[in-house]
Amino acid sequence: MSDKKEREPEIVGFACSYCSFKASEMAGSLRMKYPENVRVIQVPCSSRVDPAFVIKAIFEGADGVFVSSCHPGDCHFIRGNYYTRRKMAALKEMFKAFSMDGKVKLFWISAAEARKFIEKITNMYNELREEKNAGKKN
């Protein structure tokens, strides 16, 4: 699945339409910069994200996947992100068991938190890049 030459980490993210995706749009409007290898997929609610998507993304070559959702209690669909939280906690535990800690992350980002969005994904990118350079195999 991986090329012979070194690649920068590729990150795929899922952002919910009503909060996190709006924050990503605002980050764009405010011309905030983040690594080009981070790509965001829009979903109506973070609860639409099936852990199967995250697993597929990881095994299709993504070095990291994040799911970004409204803060618990603030979901536009009222309770969707409580389920997301449980599913992602279980999924992260599974990846931890496979010693793939840090490849899957969950963020709470509201529509106003463009700066937090940038910080979180840039941190994730930098962490993964360090791991790659340290020679860890995935």
Binding site: M1, A52, G73, R86, F98
Partner: protein, 337 residues
């Protein structure tokens, strides 16, 4: 604890009484040649065996999508099979009114594939044989979380001296106990298996995974024989996750060199997540694997680790909701990164 003292004869008489009524069936283990296998009795369960030291498949798979309400079945099975049945009832795949589930203390099993000798049909004898030489004991049984007959509507437990007792856990269980001669009395002795064992959280890495799963031929037998894999039409029958035909070739041309069959890890990882909250660790998947991949290690390990996250045990209680289907507002404070 209150229950009834029984022996094989008393139980046989009670089961006969049950089976005499219209549309009543007994489901348990019975002799089949030199082996003991699952058997369904419409009348006189003469050769019923309470203990089956051979594991071929999980007995819950025979009762998928049994919805008829006018049939009544009493089941005498191992705890892992009863737990799988309870999970299937939670998933609305079996009509609960139909079945009365009785779990029996399990001494462990060997794979039916490896069965050569005639293992005895007696709990104490089987346990002695395994204590002496556990090389044949299945991995799933070596690390089984719940060998005691404490799940279901009633449970048959073995006393230290080999005597058998039956305890009711629900009203349906009590109803069945009424068919057995004898009084309900207080139990005071010690059980052979008195507690379930604790296992270490499972840890592995992708190198080990790829080593173990390199032989996988994606036959999907593990999925077919898993008692809690209940989907009518599995996600992996389609081509969203495993492309077919021209789409497959085109994908390879765009993506690059691949080990084949493609999508092994995706299939197993996604299935692992899907069954994580309902897996009972019976190891039927490993039994079914034609390539002898150590599936139990992974599936049982991951599912136990994920169930512990929510303090959940699959099949323990029919009223316990599967963790992915509920939530608490105030929990998992460190879920966020």
């Amino acid at each position: 604890m209150q229950g009834k003292r029984i022996d094989k004869e008393k139980l046989r008489v009670a089961l006969n009484r049950f089976v005499e009524k219209q549309n009543h069936i007994v489901y348990g283990y019975g002799k089949n040649g030199i082996f003991i296998t699952h058997k369904i009795y419409r009348d006189n369960p003469e050769d019923l065996s309470l203990f089956n030291p051979y594991f071929g498949l999980n007995g819950a798979t025979f009762f998928y999508r049994v919805f008829g309400k006018d049939i009544k079945v009493v089941m005498l099975l191992r705890p892992c099979e009863i737990r799988a049945l309870i999970e299937l009832v939670k998933l609305n795949q079996i009509e609960p009114e139909t079945i009365t589930m009785i779990s029996i203390d399990c001494p462990g099993t060997i794979s039916q594939k490896n069965a050569k000798a005639d293992l005895p049909d007696d709990f104490i004898e089987i346990k002695k044989a395994f204590d002496k030489n556990d090389s044949g004991l299945r991995w799933a049984c070596k690390f089984c979380r719940e060998k005691r007959g404490v799940v279901g509507d009633a449970g048959i437990r073995v006393q230290e001296d080999g005597g058998l007792w039956i305890f009711p856990y629900t009203d349906k269980g009590s109803d069945f106990l009424n068919l057995i001669d004898g009084e309900i009395i207080e139990y005071t002795a010690k059980f052979v298996i008195s507690e379930s064992i604790k296992t270490e959280p499972f840890v592995t890495d992708m190198d080990k995974f790829y080593n173990d799963f390199s032989k996988c031929i994606l036959c999907k037998n593990c999925r077919d024989m898993c008692p809690v894999c209940y989907c009518v039409d599995c996600l992996f029958n389609g081509d969203e996750y495993l492309p077919k035909g021209d789409a497959f070739i085109n994908k390879m041309l765009r993506t690059g060199t691949q080990n084949l069959p493609y999508g092994k890890e995706i299939f197993h990882m996604i299935r692992m997540y899907h069954v994580s909250q309902t897996c009972v660790g019976c190891g039927a998947c490993e039994e079914a694997c034609p390539q002898d991949i150590p599936l139990t290690k992974y599936f049982k390990g991951i599912s136990e680790r994920l169930q512990n996250l929510f303090s959940y045990m699959s099949g323990r209680d029919i009223k316990e909701t599967i963790p992915y289907l509920t939530f608490k507002e105030d929990e998992l404070k460190d879920a966020e990164d």
